[in-house]
Symmetry: C2
Subunit: 116 residues, 2 copies
């Protein structure tokens, strides 16, 4: 709740209840996450993961991209805590971190589809 100046009265408007604003650290984290989402190729990887976890080699096949290219995109998404990964023998599986990420991806796609 730092920088919450909503108690400042605007001279031409009725008083407004103090907004429940995120603090500076939450805003920094959320905006960093949005920057990671701001790329069509990374976003498509997330859309593929919306149905459940997928092995990185399968993602590369599906995307018809090099494994190194897809791995780099997944690393960016992992740094932003949008995906989690687990190893099983020689396979590395990726999945969306949680339901918040699923909702973010779904809301964005719906919004984009609706507004065309």
């Amino acid at each position: 709740m730092s920088n919450d100046k909503s108690t400042v009265r605007h001279h031409q408007h009725a008083p407004r209840p103090s907004a429940n604003l995120p603090d500076a650290s939450e805003l920094q984290q959320a905006s960093a996450m949005f920057r990671a989402l701001g790329d069509p190729a990374r976003l498509r990887l997330l859309a593929r993961l919306a149905g459940g976890e997928v092995c990185v080699t399968e993602l590369a096949d599906l995307e018809e991209e090099k494994l190194t290219t897809v791995s780099a995109r997944l690393q960016t998404l992992h740094d932003a805590r949008l995906v989690k990964r687990r190893r099983e023998a020689k396979h590395v599986y990726y999945a969306l971190t949680d339901r918040h990420v699923l909702r973010l991806v779904q809301s964005a796609i719906e919004h984009a589809a609706e507004k065309r």
Copy 2:
């Protein structure tokens, strides 16, 4: 559904049902929207609008910023169709475009708050 290569069979994995992927235009729009969200100051404006529409002069007061600074941020959000505006006499009011945007903002904040 362009570029959907999910019918390509990965040799080491069970067949996977064709993903319901957004098309290239939807991905472009959604990622542009995420880039507009990828800034803490713009995100805080959206958080302020989560409670309902606010006049631009009141937003500038609340943010303790120049009107021109806040107007520029709102223009970026408007270009990305994250906010809508209406004029009433000398006032310009901004609001979130729809429930998808509200959900995007709320999900991001919850995700950021949860992962600290």
